[in-house]
């Protein structure tokens, strides 16, 4: 799967979790850009991404996710 496709799929998940259909993601988007992206919603997001891509993250992976770009790289490495 191309990284662009992953970004589009991740964007759909973000829109659903944050209940915001106008949300547009870039690889630079981070928690600072989305007020609702807090430590509570983060785990729900992680769980939804895991289900959607049928992958499993490790706790250590979470520390490496600084922005959406990092998340996409990690997903790509697990597909």
């Amino acid at each position: 799967m191309e990284k662009n496709e992953i970004l589009k799929k991740v964007e759909t998940i973000f829109r659903s979790v944050f209940d915001n259909n106008s949300l547009v993601l870039t690889t630079e988007t981070s928690a600072l850009d989305i007020p609702e992206w807090n430590s509570l919603n983060h785990m729900i997001l992680i769980s939804e991404v895991e289900s959607a891509f049928s992958i499993r993250f490790k706790l250590r992976d979470l520390n490496m996710m600084r922005n959406v770009g990092d998340m996409i790289d990690l997903i790509a490495s697990k597909l």
């Binding site: 209940d19 609702e36 807090n38 430590s39 509570l40 785990m43 729900i44 992680i46 769980s47 895991e50 706790l59 250590r60 979470l62 520390n63």
Partner: protein, 477 residues
């Protein structure tokens, strides 16, 4: 020696002077010696525990970084954390559990093999133990590389932080110890300003309010509901000025040595939700709990979605309660925080939609309501932190909610000085929260205003400060 002791006022300038004239290569050794001298001055015997915790942390950090398999790494981490936590558990909880067993079995005519005991808590153990555990987990997560035992000892025993935090991370502090720094007067000035304000918060605000709070809480049955309500509100401010003031002195002391330490408080009483409050209150402890307890737990429970988060929140705040003290009151305190945060987590989506629909987020009255409700919830929970027992806490609640209104207990100068000091603190914070950079006092461009504000605060400390206490609330934790 406490920061408010006369010893510290002699020790501190001497250390800063010698630190900066010591050649860079020897500076860390000088600082390590100073750290141990500082701790030896408090309770010499407990220095052995500090050294042992450091040794165990070093040995296990080496083990974790040398074993090859993931399983061996994990087992080494678990064993290492267990050994590091042993002294904390022994001194903080063993005596309490033992005495509870003695009381329980005696009541039923049975005997417990050990006598009743009172163990003195080694000062700062709750703080440096958490720093050591954090170091080991960071090594396990490959976020930092193990350092030599000297630098590790320096990190764990760093004298500005050892008594009551802030609970620092090795990744922030150790590189700064290694960095070649030249004498920087701006750093020293910034540090001194923080210390000056910290002393104001501690000596003028916290210790003055403490006189009223203690007078009421030490005689709960004799005081009416209004006095208990006022004392409970004031206790929140006292707690903030005490640990917030202590933290500023600690951070300022480190700053004069050219070391930047994590901010511990960020105007907590302007938070509009409990979640925001906990991002502003005792930040170093909460971020430690978030990174090393809440995140791993919520990650493990992630398949349960929002309920997994709630479970993780409850466990994290129960641990936070137990960390504060081995008493049922602290357990209830932790439970209340967990419940309040869980309710907020469950209601967050609906609340956010409601705020958007009515464009409330930036409305002054809405922010004010949020701040007041958050303050009331926090102060309500703090009754369990202040009361000596669950019965006392329940008595405070029942008096607050059922007593007929009477004027609260008044204590002439204590209340007058306390309210003046608290007003100055809150006006300063209001200005920083809503008009950042508009009115500058300690950082005013005009020398005359700057120096006038220094002299004013020094005058306030000398004239209205409470001296001779040398106690900080968080020393007991």
């Amino acid at each position: 020696m406490a920061f408010t002791s006369l010893h510290f006022l002699i020790f501190f300038p001497l250390v800063v002077l010698l630190y900066w004239i010591t050649p860079f290569r020897a500076r860390w050794i000088f600082l390590l010696v100073v750290n141990y001298l500082f701790y030896l001055n408090m309770k010499p015997g407990f220095t052995i525990i500090l050294a042992l915790v450091t040794l165990v942390t070093f040995l296990f950090s080496k083990l974790i970084s040398t074993v090859n398999t993931e399983k061996a790494k994990k087992n080494s981490l678990i064993l290492g954390i267990t050994f590091i936590l042993l002294p904390l558990f022994f001194y903080k909880y063993f005596g309490v559990i033992n005495n509870a067993m003695v009381a329980l079995l005696t009541e039923h005519g049975l005997t417990w093999p050990l006598p009743e005991m009172k163990l003195f808590l080694p000062i700062g153990i709750s703080f440096y133990t958490f720093m050591a555990v954090g170091y080991l987990i960071d090594i396990y997560n490959e976020e930092i590389e193990p350092v030599n035992p000297g630098y590790l000892a320096l990190f764990i025993s760093f004298f500005p932080l050892i008594l009551s935090g802030p609970i620092e991370r090795a990744g922030n502090l150790i590189p700064q110890f290694k960095e070649h720094k030249t004498l920087d007067f701006e750093s020293i000035t910034k540090g001194l300003k923080m210390m000056l304000w910290g002393y104001f918060m501690k000596l003028v605000v916290a210790d003055r309010l403490g006189i009223y709070v203690d007078a009421v809480y030490e005689n709960i049955p004799q005081h009416n509901g209004s006095s208990l309500m006022l004392a409970s509100f004031l206790y929140s401010f006292q707690m903030y000025a005490d640990l917030g003031g202590y933290s500023l002195i600690a951070i300022g002391t480190a700053k004069t040595l050219g070391i930047d330490v994590i901010q511990n408080f960020k105007r907590p009483f302007f938070a509009t939700t409990m979640a925001e409050f906990w991002r502003r209150w005792h930040i170093s402890l909460i971020s430690w709990l978030t990174d090393y307890i809440y995140t791993p737990l919520s990650f493990s429970f992630r398949k349960y979605k929002v309920w997994g988060i709630i479970l993780a929140l409850m466990i994290t705040f129960l641990i936070s309660g137990i960390w504060h003290g081995a008493a049922l009151t602290f357990l209830v305190w932790g439970l209340i925080q967990g419940v309040l945060l869980s309710i907020e987590a469950l209601a967050s989506k609906s609340k956010s939609n409601f705020e958007k629909k009515h464009s409330l987020s930036n409305k002054g009255f809405y922010i004010l309501i949020g701040s007041v409700v958050t303050f009331l919830l926090f102060s309500g929970s703090q009754i369990f932190s202040k009361a000596a027992s669950l019965d006392d806490a329940m008595l405070v609640y029942s008096k607050i909610f059922t007593d007929n209104f009477h004027l609260p207990y008044r204590d002439g100068y204590t209340m007058l000085y306390g309210f003046i000091a608290l007003s100055i603190l809150m006006i300063k914070e209001f200005n920083e929260e809503y008009f950042p950079g508009k009115i500058q006092l300690f950082n005013n461009n005009r020398t005359v205003f700057r120096w006038l504000s220094y002299y004013f605060v020094i005058f306030m400390i000398l004239y209205m400060g409470v001296f001779g206490q040398e106690k900080f609330i968080y020393f007991q934790f």
